[in-house]
Every structure is written in structure tokens, then in C-alpha cells.
Subunit: 319 residues, 2 copies
């Protein structure tokens, strides 16, 4: 029997998304579970195991068809040892050997990583940063996440916490950030801040989707909000570009749908403020993989660990 399928999982603050993919990362089936009921760590681990079994059963497969399970997590993770350090937005997780625990429970090889790293891995392998040596992939959401590719590989840093472009200061003084820092990029352009700026501009509540739609139709007030976002993003990216001399910066997350009023401003600020050699070289591109980047990255992580080994040794795991 051939192990030809991979399960990718994206664990967020509210949802657990799963996808069943083939070895070319085509999504064959997907499922979403709410994590609202899982207040205890053990419940969440059991929930992951149950949902893995269910997506296999529901698609008429058996474990023997599955190469492995990749899992993207919302916090710093030692992807080598499989240890979860903690989750900023899910209490109760501290130094959990999640890879080992899950492998025992579901009897399949498990690989885990930070969700921003998996987004970067996906965009680098099959998305907007494909073929690039050095890339920064950013997700604009409630927080501002980032994953780095250096010399063709995900760069995770000394304690698996690299890539935090959202926590680069853009001012000496400024708003307090959730991370404890001051005037971090995220404190200016996290989703809540954008919604607040939109409310101030329109004197009523307005969703990010509507703000994007209005900007695309040429509404000057909406465009100005996105330009504000682009300006702060451009300042932080000017520093990253000068420091890292990147090939490409990939911007994803719902906010990336704002279109040219955001991207034009980011590009203009980087062109103006970054050094000419670095600024001329770097491309600033929209993410290609959308909301599936995390799932795809999780599957790519499995493939990158098992794919080659499997070709050498068809014995596989856990048979």
C-alpha cells in the first residue's frame, strides 16, 4: 500500500483547520473544527487526534495511506525537538512535547512548526517567493506575523523565535504593544488598529473587507487609511531590507486584499527610505496561497522530512 497522502493542520486561536492533500499538495478534502470547547490542553490534543482519525475515515482511507501529519501552531515551537514553548493566545501550554504526545496518540509521524514559518515555507516552495534565496513573508491579521527564508531555507533563529517583523519598533516613542514593547509595527497596523482608524475616518464601524472594497472603488477616505498602514509597514520593511538584502517580501493575510492603495504605498516608502542597492533589488508581492498557506506549509514540512527518506526506504513509519 502506498503512503500517498499528507494531512496538514492549522491551529488558530478559534479554529482547527485540517486538509487531506496528495504529494503535490493538491487539497482533496478539508474540515474545520471549533476549538472553543477545548479549554484544557489535553482536550485540544485529543481533539487533534480525533479530527485526524475522522478526516482519514471520512475519505475512505486508512492510516497506512498517510505519510504524516504536519501541524502549524500559533506560537514559538522547536520544530526539531517537537517542543511547544508557549502560545501567546492559548493559556496552559508551556514546554509541551506535542510532537511526541501526538505521535503516540495517532500512530503517524508528526511534524510541527510555527504557523508563520509554515506560511513562509509554503510561499517559498509553491507560492510568491518560489525560487528566491532570501525572503520575508508577512501575515497581516490580529497580529503581524513573519517568517524568514535565508539562503533558501526557513531561518528559525537561536530559540525558534525569529521572523517577528510585527515587533520591529517604528518609533522611539509610541503606543504600547501587546508584546510588552513600545511602538512596534503591530501596535500601528494590527487589524484592530486599522478598524479603529477606519472608524475615525468614516465616523461609523466599518469592516476591513468593506474598507478594502471602498479603497478599490477609489474612496479617498478608505485609501488614506490603507496608505497609513502602508507607510508604517514600509518603514519597518526599509529596515528589514537594509539589514537582510532580500529578494522578495511577500505580504499575506486578509489585509493584503486592500490592493494597490496598500502595496503602492509600501513600495514607495521602501524605495524612498531603504538604501538604493537593496531597494532596487527587492520585490514586494502579494501572497499567492491565501488562507491555505498554513495548511500547505504543514504538508510541505511533512514532505520535506519524509519525502526523500521514503524514496530511499519504502519501509516507512509505524507500519
Amino acid at each position: 500500500m502506498k503512503r500517498n497522502m499528507i494531512i496538514g493542520i492549522d491551529l488558530g486561536g478559534t479554529n482547527l483547520k485540517l486538509a487531506l492533500m496528495d504529494r503535490s499538495f493538491r487539497i482533496k478534502a478539508r474540515q474545520v473544527f471549533s476549538t472553543a470547547g477545548f479549554s484544557e490542553k489535553e482536550d485540544l490534543v485529543t481533539g487533534i487526534a480525533v479530527s485526524v482519525n475522522r478526516i482519514i475515515d471520512d475519505n475512505g482511507l486508512r492510516k497506512a495511506h498517510i505519510m504524516g501529519v504536519g501541524l502549524g501552531l500559533p506560537g514559538p515551537v522547536n520544530s526539531k525537538s517537537g517542543l511547544v514553548h508557549f502560545f501567546p493566545n492559548i493559556p496552559g501550554w508551556k514546554n509541551v512535547r506535542l510532537k511526541a504526545v501526538l505521535q503516540r496518540k495517532i500512530r503517524l509521524p508528526v511534524f510541527i512548526d510555527n504557523d508563520a514559518n509554515l506560511m513562509a515555507l509554503a510561499e517559498h516552495t509553491i507560492g510568491a517567493a518560489r525560487g528566491m534565496q532570501n525572503a520575508l513573508c508577512i501575515t497581516l491579521g490580529t497580529g503581524v506575523g513573519g517568517g524568514l527564508v535565508c539562503e533558501g531555507s526557513i531561518y528559525r533563529g537561536s530559540t525558534y523565535a525569529a521572523g517577528e517583523i510585527g515587533h520591529v519598533p517604528v518609533n522611539e516613542k509610541g503606543p504600547k504593544c501587546n508584546c510588552g514593547g513600545i511602538a512596534c509595527l503591530e501596535a500601528y497596523i494590527g487589524n484592530k488598529r486599522i478598524v479603529k482608524a477606519a472608524k475615525a475616518a468614516f465616523r461609523k464601524d466599518i469592516s476591513l473587507e468593506e474598507l478594502s472594497a471602498r479603497a478599490q472603488k477609489g474612496d479617498v477616505k478608505a485609501i488614506r487609511v490603507w496608505q497609513m498602514v502602508g507607510r508604517y509597514l514600509g518603514i519597518a520593511l526599509s529596515g528589514a531590507v537594509n539589514l537582510l538584502n532580500l529578494d522578495v517580501i511577500v505580504i499575506g493575510g486578509g489585509v493584503a486584499n486592500a490592493g494597490s492603495s496598500l502595496f503602492d504605498e509600501v513600495r514607495a516608502v521602501v524605495r524612498k527610505r531603504a538604501m538604493s542597492v537593496q531597494a532596487r533589488h527587492v520585490k514586494i508581492a502579494k501572497a499567492r496561497l491565501g488562507n491555505d498557506a498554513g495548511l500547505l506549509g504543514a504538508a510541505i514540512l511533512v514532505q520535506s522530512h519524509i519525502g526523500r527518506r521514503r524514496e530511499k526506504n519504502q519501509a516507512g513509519f509505524f507500519r
Copy 2:
């Protein structure tokens, strides 16, 4: 005859420094030439070749004793192809194949790199960042230079221009920088800015050496100037630490002699503003190799290219 000696060269804006070293990077002889007379590019190239020949002759050696020549340069350099892109402070150099030109002229293997990268290479190989996987090495001088070590190797970036920590913005608005940017770190703490701040504090001209000496003796006004420097440096480093999750930041250059009033402030700002996982892990250390870092790095560059090859094949180069 054994090729047991290496020549390291550090080309600055005003001086050409040479050192003759053994394979353990012990400096056996040194020479300094002014570059003031070399207004033409060809004159400077000839000057380098003449000075290499002289340091060999003056020490009773022959070319057959020399493994190679390493050259640190004040600007972006493609260290692989040996191409000088340009020098910000020396006009007339644009896309010069310096490695090839020099090799033909002096008949020895030549390796070139940016001076900040060589400082980082030296500190990483035999200095304050020894044994570390991820490091940022900073030189505080007229400009603020930087070299990055990622996963144990010098990280040069996509067009050999990475490491420019001096051109990370620390404010949205602020002083114009020499690089064309706005509110870059260098625009706040380049040597001239520190001298200016010292003059404002003491109402008279005061050298950086004296400013350091006074701070070390407890002079409050001098300490405040260094704290200002440390504050801006700490802000830029908080961003670098969050983005790169470094093991160590090494600070060198004359200004690093200011002592604890500078270093304590940098550490305090990073501890306060960077994310806890990254801030707790990173060490902030004074450079160990002082003014010789560039020369030592140039020799290490030669050793890293030739050392192993030579062990395999005693035939060598240019014999």
C-alpha cells in the same frame, strides 16, 4: 617550501593597513600607507600591489611563502565573483573586478569582502561571537556598519549588501541620513552626531576619547550622552533581536570603549522593548579584536578558502 603566511589588508577611507600573519592569525608584521595620494582607481590598485610586495620583501620572505591575500573593502562587494560594486566614500569605483585585477598584478590568490563582514567573520571565528550560530557584529564609527552571522556562516544577502543595521529607521520622522533615508540609526549615533551632542552638553569641543574617559570617571553629562547613544542603539537592536532571534550582538569601534554607560543602556532598552524569549537569550558583548578585526577577518577569509583545499592538494596556486 611551505605557504605558511597570510597577508590581510584593510582598506579604509584614509589608510591602507596591511598585516602579515601566520596560519593561526598571529600578526608578525604590520604596515600602514596613506591613501591620500591615490586619487585614481589605478593608482590605488598599484598601491595595494606595491605594498603587498613590500611587506613580503621587508620580512625576508618570498611569494612562495604566502597562502593568499585577503582584502576588506569599505563598500558592497560580491565576495564570490570578486566584483566591487562601489564605495560610498571613494569615488570612481563602479563594478571593478578587483579580485581578478589584483591576482594578475601580484600573482597570489586574492579574496575580497566588505569590511563589516570581515569584522563579523573575525569576531565569529576567534572573537566575542566564537561558537555562536547567529550573531550581529556592529562597528560604531563615522558610519554604523554591521555584519551578520546566520546559522554559523556570514550572511551576505541577495546582492551582497546585507548587515546594514546603521540604516534601520528608529523613527517615523527625523534627521535625513547620508544614505538618503530618514531617521536611520546612523543619523542619530554616527560619530559626528555624538561629537555634536557632546559639544551641546559641555559647551565646547570634546573628543570621543575624552567623552569616554569622562563617562568612565562618573561625569554625569558624559554619561547622559552615552545613554542617548545606547538608547537609539537599543531601539534598533530590539527590532533586529525580534526579527533574527540572535545569540549575540557584538559591538565594536572606538565608541565601544565608552564602557558601561553605553552597554548598560543598550541592554536595558533591549530587555525592555524586545520580546521576552528573544531578549532573554541574546548576549550584548563588546568586540574582542579591536582595530585588528578587519585585518584578522581578511586573513580568516583566505584561510577559509585555501586552508582546506591546500591540505588536499599541496600543488597550490601560481607556482
